[in-house]
């Protein structure tokens, strides 16, 4: 069994975990025909069948039960403020399944030329709110209240030692719903991870209805006809948001080092964190001279890379891969969409640059706190 723990610990390393998830993701949530083909061929569509959710839930429960027998796992999972995240894992898994299950069923109906499941009730075939909805609501309220009360009795709210601004706990973590952002701090400076990215997430979310102009499939679950939209959303929601939260909560330990779920939080654990900037690579490693004094000359390479990424890539894509999309969205919507997507993609890009080349900053101007 120890070897199982070691395997789990091993694959918990973000390099492996993230790479796996990124590689598998398009096959689970195929954004295009090609992936769709393999999705079917690999039988991944069975994931959304009724059998699977039973197996998955049982499996997850079994994993947690097994894990709770381990001191380290128990310690991190049963930390009062982490309990909701365990709940979140189950809930998200279930509801993702529920949504996809209904979506696939509807897709089949649509493919068969039928109306979606939700349509069976013709517009005139309505029900009165009293008592059906009111009653359902009342019952939900009762169940939810009872659930919260049980939770409250069962799990005391945490109260740790009194606040001490001079003695920081190790690790010091933000509230769990912001841990995704804190995780990004490893790869970005605070102005990006803490300000720009959250703002863009909000802007991006608000922009969804204005960019996704596909008029179809409103009011019922479906996948096929919105697969790009859903795939992109799912990637952001499940991978970039929830997975980073889970990593930040369960896997980040002292000195913000990565610890597997069954690993002891050893404060002495070390990770080589020596990183290097693009300018240093170019001037010192390659050109073998000192860094130039002028900031512009020093950072011209990084600036060029970034300008190329944000100014040249979008039109290039518009002419090639995303030709259809460009035509559909028009230039303004396309620009907004592509910039948001490109910024979102910088996160995985920077992650891999860090893991592979120890790259710290593409542009490093600490003089003005401008590091990217």
């Amino acid at each position: 069994m120890d070897s199982f723990k070691e395997i789990v610990n091993y694959i918990s390393n973000p390099t492996i975990l993230f790479t796996t998830v990124v590689l598998v993701f398009p096959f689970i949530f195929p954004p295009s025909d090609w992936f769709e083909k393999w999705h079917r061929r690999l039988g991944l569509h069975h994931l959304w069948g009724t059998k699977f959710i039973v197996i998955a839930m049982l499996g997850m429960v079994a994993f947690f039960m097994y894990g709770l027998g381990d001191y380290n796992f128990q310690k991190i999972v049963l930390k009062p403020d982490n309990v909701p995240i365990s709940g979140l894992i189950f809930l998200v898994a279930f509801f993702t399944w529920l949504a996809m299950n209904q979506a696939y069923k509807n897709d089949e109906r649509l493919n068969a030329g039928e109306k979606p499941n939700e349509y069976f009730e013709a517009p005139n075939d309505k029900v009165l709110v009293w008592p059906d909805l009111v009653y359902v609501e009342l019952i939900s309220l009762i169940i939810a209240s009872a659930f919260l009360l049980v939770w409250s009795i069962g799990l005391p709210a945490p109260i740790e030692e009194p606040a001490n601004p001079t003695e920081s706990p190790n690790p010091a973590k933000a509230p769990w719903y912001f841990l995704g952002l804190q995780e990004m701090l490893v790869y970005f400076d605070p102005w990006m991870a803490g300000v720009v990215i959250p703002s863009l997430i909000l802007v991006g979310l608000m922009a969804i209805p204005y960019i996704d102009r596909n008029p179809e499939n409103s009011g019922f679950f479906s996948y096929n006809r919105r697969r790009l939209a859903i795939s992109v959303f799912m990637f952001g929601w499940l991978v970039l948001w929830l997975m980073l939260i889970i990593v930040g909560t369960f896997l980040r330990g002292p000195n913000w080092n990565i610890f597997g779920p069954f690993e002891y939080w050893d404060i002495h654990k070390l990770e080589a964190l020596t990183n290097i900037n693009v300018s240093e690579i170019i001037y010192i490693k390659w050109l073998n001279k000192g860094l130039p004094d002028s900031i512009i000359i020093r950072e011209i390479w990084g600036i060029s890379i970034l300008l190329g990424y944000f100014l040249i890539l979008p039109p290039l894509l518009a002419k090639t891969f995303l030709k259809d999309m460009y035509a559909r969205l028009g230039s303004v919507r396309y620009s907004v969409f592509i910039v948001l997507i490109l910024i979102a993609i910088t996160l995985p890009i920077k992650m891999y640059l860090r893991w592979m080349f120890n790259l710290k900053y593409i542009i490093a101007i600490p003089e003005y706190f401008f590091n990217f």
Partner: protein
């Protein structure tokens, strides 16, 4: 915002007399006068709202702070000998003041490993942490033991009367490239 207000209020005011000059019969409304009165009204209203929000914003910055003083006066540059680590503020403020040929800097006495307080070993010319043996050079750079990064430096500037002021609110970390900040190092 203020500037916007000033420039924006002018044109309608100039227009107003012209509008008033026209004879307005009963219910007939001149488009121009309608426009200028209305816009004047809106400009005034928006500006006032601006005033309200400015007030709201300013309200969040009190005129005095009740925070403990984090700065202290550390005597004059001449009190420090070139090449020596001065430990006289260690107990009271948790700061070493070191003068080298170029100038003076203030090092935090908190070991970057687990926060113990290292000792200055004058004969070996190094800071040695008694807890886990981390060693730092007189610059604060870590060179032995488990400490992951150099000691932090504090802001150090000259007061009007030439006395050194050490400000512990501002820290400079070498690994972040902050030691090159002009206030991380006092040139004398």
């Amino acid at each position: 915002m203020l500037e916007g207000k000033k420039t924006a209020t002018k044109p309608p005011v100039r227009k107003a007399p012209a509008a008033l000059g026209e004879t307005v019969k009963d219910n007939e409304v001149s488009r121009r006068s309608f426009f200028s009165w209305l816009s004047l009204g809106w400009i005034g209203f928006v500006a006032s709202t601006g005033g309200f929000f400015t007030m709201m914003l300013r309200f969040f910055f009190p005129n005095v702070l009740f925070e403990p003083v984090q700065t202290f006066r550390a005597g004059y540059p001449d009190d420090y000998i070139i090449g020596e680590v001065d430990t006289k503020w260690k107990d009271k403020y948790g700061v070493w003041i070191i003068r080298n040929r170029e100038g003076i800097y203030a090092l935090s006495t908190v070991c970057t490993h687990l926060g113990c307080t290292p000792n200055w070993l004058a004969s070996a010319r190094k800071f040695k942490c008694p807890c886990h043996g981390s060693g730092f050079k007189s610059t604060g750079i870590n060179f032995e033991g488990p400490a992951p990064r150099p000691l932090e430096r504090y802001r150090i500037v000259l007061a009007d009367d030439g006395e050194i002021i050490v400000d512990k609110t501002q820290k400079y970390q070498q690994e972040k490239g902050q030691w090159s900040d002009p206030e991380a190092f006092l040139r004398v």
